[in-house]
């Protein structure tokens, strides 16, 4: 973004897209619903008597959740909720399908459905009660301590060892995986902490081997996290959880500072700790050999081997709902639910599920990109990355890409704590995305803009831009180095030109949004392909104003006098990036 763009200030405004959101949601819910229907047709040959109620309840919950999001967070990312409901539906369907193996059928799916409901209620509570997610920024150190305590809770007498890992606690008869909640709490803590200190952490320390290291005095937090994750690795015996939290911290420090030396440092520290554990603790060796040579000990690695047999049995297209043998794999409902999916829905189905996870991560990172202030950026990026790492660790473990870990598969695994925690994560992601995508001008003339916006994005000409949220800036980032801004902007431009990351998520290329716009506004599509940020007089060559003039229908040209944005004398708030950096 150049200086001229800052002065002219054309802004791409995200549009609230209720119809697309609802359509996507219903489509996504159909996947889970058809899993339920097909399971019964394949196993029993007929539907159970309760099927209309089950399906009506399922779609009603989805639509109700959608309506709450529409009410509270109308600009929230329209893809996140459908993607989540797709995963929840497939997960519930698979748990139910495995229930039916037992004679008489178990009712774990009902219990799980209640947990889904509780998760949704918790998410709605967050959406309704947290009017501004910035309140979550206030107590980073308290949250940090709470998160660490949660993470290390299984080491107390409350903890129980399950399947070789001590990452669960048992509490009044209920099992609970505190890492799931710690995931959210620590993301909040890191985001708050790093939003305040990122500039300090970015300061250069000594140069070693061509790498500018952080200053020694700034190494405290990473040392604490390293010790905590080593405790998890050694005493909780879970590589996945350890990697998850240390990776989360290092990734967020990198996002905050842009200094790759933090990543190198973190990787070296973790590798050193891992190597030490491999040398010192027999269990690591066992895990590694189970990973590399599972068939050398059939009985000991029964679970992983059965998962492999399941994948092979499922083949490319899967056996079909109810027609595989997922019951032969122990823990097929929880840790190994992706093995059950691979068996019955095939490699194709498993790839689809992985891509839905990737979609959620992509939308989260997209939110981080378009968010205008550091806390929201860090929070959204952190939650997305921890989600990505978790999916990578668990699915990688089940498919033998990594040593097996005890993490849950988000939104799919049987288990209440994980389900509720992930719904809370989703709620926070929706909050941030709503705030990030909300066009500021809409505050003044919401109805007007809504009527204007017949398309995915809209180009609005404004002048005299001002930072949208100056109060945040003064309150929390007092010492902004003045020379930081131009360099950051230049970096941004580079990344824009070369970024290979065009995962599904760019607004204008979203599948449903393109349908109506292709015929009428190809030029605008071109302009907006890369991001939802301000299109400028850039290399793509088409001036935004010209684009507007070419539009035959749909977006009306700005009408003088109706909206403040066209008034040359009145200062207008503008939605743009980097303003806080």
């Amino acid at each position: 973004m150049s200086a001229t763009a800052l002065s002219t200030g054309e802004v791409v405004v995200h549009r609230a897209r209720p119809a697309m959101g609802l359509t996507l949601l219903l489509l996504a819910q159909v996947v889970g619903a058809s899993g339920y229907v097909l399971t019964h047709l394949d196993i029993d040959g007929h539907l159970p008597r309760a099927w209309p109620y089950v399906l009506v309840a399922w779609f009603a919950v989805g639509v109700a959740t959608h309506l709450v999001v529409r009410w509270r967070l109308p600009y929230a990312d329209p893809v996140l909720l459908p993607a989540t409901f797709l995963l929840v539906g497939v997960g519930l369907g698979m748990v139910h399908r495995i229930d039916l193996i037992s004679e008489p059928a178990r009712t774990d799916a009902q219990t799980q459905a209640i947990w889904v409901l509780l998760g949704i209620v918790a998410a709605i509570a967050v959406m309704v009660l947290v009017r501004d997610y910035h309140v979550l920024r206030r107590f980073p150190y308290v949250l940090f301590l709470v998160g660490l305590a949660l993470l290390l809770l299984p080491l107390t007498p409350l903890g129980v060892e399950l399947n070789g890992s001590r990452i669960w606690i048992r509490f009044f008869g209920y099992s609970f995986q505190p890492a799931e909640v710690a995931k959210l709490v620590l993301s909040l803590a890191f985001a708050g902490y790093l939003a305040d200190t990122k500039d300090v952490l970015a300061m250069a320390g000594p140069r070693v081997l061509g790498l500018t290291l952080p200053r020694a005095r700034d190494l405290g937090p990473i040392a604490v996290m390293w010790v905590a994750s080593m405790l998890v690795l050694i005493y909780q015996k879970d590589l996945g959880t350890s990697m998850l939290f240390f990776g989360l911290f290092v990734a967020m420090v990198y996002v905050a500072t842009g200094r790759s030396s933090w990543v190198v440092l973190g990787a070296l520290l973790f590798a050193a700790g891992g190597w030490f554990a491999y040398q010192k603790f027999a269990y690591v060796d066992v895990r590694v050999s189970s990973w590399l040579h599972p068939f050398s000990n059939f009985d000991k690695n029964y679970q992983v081997i059965q998962a492999q047999f399941g994948f092979a049995y499922g083949g490319l297209l899967g056996r079909g709902w109810g027609m595989g043998r997922p019951g032969l794999t122990p823990l097929a409902k929880s840790d190994f639910i992706t093995a059950a999916i691979g068996e019955e829905l095939g490699i194709v189905g498993l790839v689809a599920v992985i891509l839905v996870y990737a979609l959620i991560v992509a939308r989260g990172l997209r939110t981080a990109l378009s968010c205008t202030e550091p806390f929201g950026k860090l929070l959204s990026a952190g939650l997305s990355l921890v989600f990505a790492l978790q999916v990578f660790a668990i699915i990688g473990g089940v498919t033998r890409l990594l040593p097996l870990t005890g993490l849950t598969t988000p939104f799919m695994s049987q288990g209440g704590s994980s389900m509720v925690a992930n719904w809370l994560v989703l709620a926070v992601m929706l909050l941030v995305s709503h705030d990030a995508r909300r066009p500021t001008v809409v505050r003044e003339a919401a109805g007007d803009v809504a009527s204007l916006s017949a398309d995915a994005t809209q180009v609005i000409t404004v002048r005299n831009p001002q930072p949208r949220r100056p109060e945040v800036r003064t309150a929390t980032s007092p010492s902004l180095p003045l020379d930081e801004e131009p360099s950051a902007v230049a970096e941004e431009e580079d990344a824009e030109a070369t970024a290979p990351f065009v995962m599904p998520g760019t607004e204008a290329t979203a599948p449903l949004g393109t349908q109506d716009s292709t015929a009428t506004r190809p030029v605008e599509r071109q302009d907006n392909t890369a991001t939802g940020r301000v299109p400028t007089h850039d290399s793509r060559g088409t001036a935004p104003v010209a684009t507007q003039a070419e539009q035959p229908t749909g977006v009306r040209p700005p009408e003088p006098g109706r909206a403040p944005r066209t008034d040359p004398d009145e200062p207008t708030q503008v939605h743009r990036f980097e303003e806080d950096e």
Binding site: Q308, A312, I354, A358, L369, A488, A495
Partner: protein
């Protein structure tokens, strides 16, 4: 900050890409080995739930599959299980499979590579895949007669068509009912399995093809064949002392019939089954010649491929005494009834040994022929020597130890044998024979012949069984 977010996004996409690539690797590279793993219950169960093809003997279904309402959906059943158990083998959930059920498992299940098209068609038409039908060479009538003749005895019968190698009858007794192992009542199957394995009579042993025994005097046919092939004639005189002290040994070999104490022609020595004559003949020929002849008849090699038949053996090294004993079918010589039937068949077929086979055709459900047996033969001995030996065997039945096998108006040749490996146990009784027009070669073996140790006694016990089968074959 956006630049670093974009870079972490690249890392996140690499993580997801790694998952996708790895999942594809599981599918592309590991699937076949995973599916072939015999601990893979999914594959075993799926195959157990197949609509397996039938096994036929003539027009008789000896193994078939019927729909059943349980988790496997199809029940394998054997309509005359005990009669054909040696042929069909069993097909059990927990205890694997044997016989044709093992060798033709993929064809019966419809999963063999040459049935791929059928599977694809089934996939798209939604039809339940049906396995191929196995047509055996077994003649139900001969099989029944052989089983009747052996009932109450421990033994085996193998009958071959010398002109083709087709196995016409294959019986091992005592036998078992494969239905008891194939049942979906897995506890009952386990109980049956335990009982069958605990049975001292070893009903699960296939005495016809998978066990080898000392062939005793029936092996003199091989020694005689070697002699004829090396230029001797049936009239060649052999030294036949009443007793023969083995070289470098104190062991004394005697005769069990009255062979005199001088010389006998080879023809007469075979009729009377003179041990000393054939021991001397063996010493004259040497172990190598006898071994070479035995190999031509199929010793030391896998006799056939349709079932896992055992290799019969002739000792690879033998000193003078061991050669003499080997020449009369003792010491380390061991043969299956199938092998001895092959010897008789090759002699009967003018020296041409047809490789035995049990499966003549494999047909897909739409009657397309997936496999048809092709002829496979080799010359075991010259036609002239074989014809001379045929006459010698006919003489055994006419005026020697095999008179019990005479069938009026039919040219029958044979050779009796008894063999004892353990003095405390009853000897083995053998009768190896052929009949002409139509040709048939038969080996009868009785493991626990409760008679005294003479060839006449063995012939008296096993000969009538051969006779009954020859009569039934015309």
């Amino acid at each position: 900050m956006n630049a670093s977010i974009r870079r972490t996004a690249v890392v996140a996409s690499i993580l997801f890409l790694a998952l996708l690539v790895n999942v594809s690797i599981v599918q592309l590279w590991r699937q076949s080995s995973l599916s072939a793993d015999n601990r893979n219950r999914r594959v075993l169960d799926a195959e157990f739930a197949q609509n397996r093809g039938a096994i036929l003997a003539g027009d008789t279904q000896i193994a078939t599959t019927t729909p059943i309402k349980d988790r496997f959906r199809y029940q394998r059943s054997y309509p005359q299980g005990s009669l054909y158990a040696t042929v069909t083998g069993w097909y059990a959930y927990d205890f694997g499979r044997s016989g044709l059920e093992a060798k033709y498992s993929t064809e019966l299940a419809g999963t063999a590579s040459n049935q791929t098209i059928d599977r694809l068609v089934d996939l798209f038409t939604g039809a339940t895949p049906v396995g191929a039908t196995i047509q055996t060479t077994i003649n139900p009538k001969l099989q029944q007669v052989a089983a009747q003749q052996l009932s109450g005895k421990k033994g085996a019968v193998v009958a071959l068509d010398p002109k083709t190698g087709a196995i016409l009858a294959m019986v091992s007794t005592p036998t078992y009912d494969p239905n008891t192992l194939a049942t979906h009542d897995l506890a009952a199957a386990r109980a049956a399995w335990t009982a069958l394995n605990a049975d001292p009579a070893k009903p699960l042993s296939d005495r016809a093809t998978r066990e080898i025994y000392p062939p005793g005097s029936t092996f003199k046919l091989v020694t005689a064949a070697a002699a004829l092939e090396s230029g001797m004639t049936p009239d060649t005189l052999l030294n036949t002392p009443s007793q023969l002290t083995l070289p470098n040994s104190s062991s004394v070999l005697g005769n069990e019939s009255n062979c005199g104490n001088t010389q006998q022609t080879m023809d007469r020595a075979l009729q009377l089954s003179c041990n000393t004559a054939f021991a001397n003949l063996g010493a004259t020929l040497g172990a190598d010649k006898i071994r070479a002849q035995a190999k031509k008849f199929g010793f030391d090699s896998t006799p056939m491929t349709d079932i896992n038949a055992a290799k019969s053996q002739f000792p690879s090294k033998a000193d003078a005494a061991q050669t003499m004993l080997s020449a009369i079918g003792q010491y380390d010589v061991a043969a299956s009834p199938l092998q001895m039937a092959m010897v008789a068949a090759a002699i009967c077929n003018d020296g041409v040994l047809k490789t035995p086979y049990l499966v003549s055709e494999v047909r897909s459900p739409d009657l397309r022929v997936l496999y048809r047996h092709g002829p496979d033969d080799k010359q075991a001995m010259s036609a002239a020597s074989a014809q001379a030996l045929q006459q010698m065997m006919v003489n055994v039945v006419q005026k020697g130890t095999g008179t019990k096998a005479q069938v009026g108006g039919v040219v029958v040749g044979g050779k009796t044998g008894t063999a004892q490996t353990d003095p405390t146990k009853n000897p083995y009784a053998w009768f190896v024979s052929f009949a002409k027009n139509p040709d048939i070669a038969i080996a009868v073996f009785i493991e626990d012949a409760n008679v005294d140790r003479t060839d006449i006694a063995g012939g008296a016990l096993a000969g009538p069984i051969a006779k009954a089968i020859i009569q039934a074959s015309r």
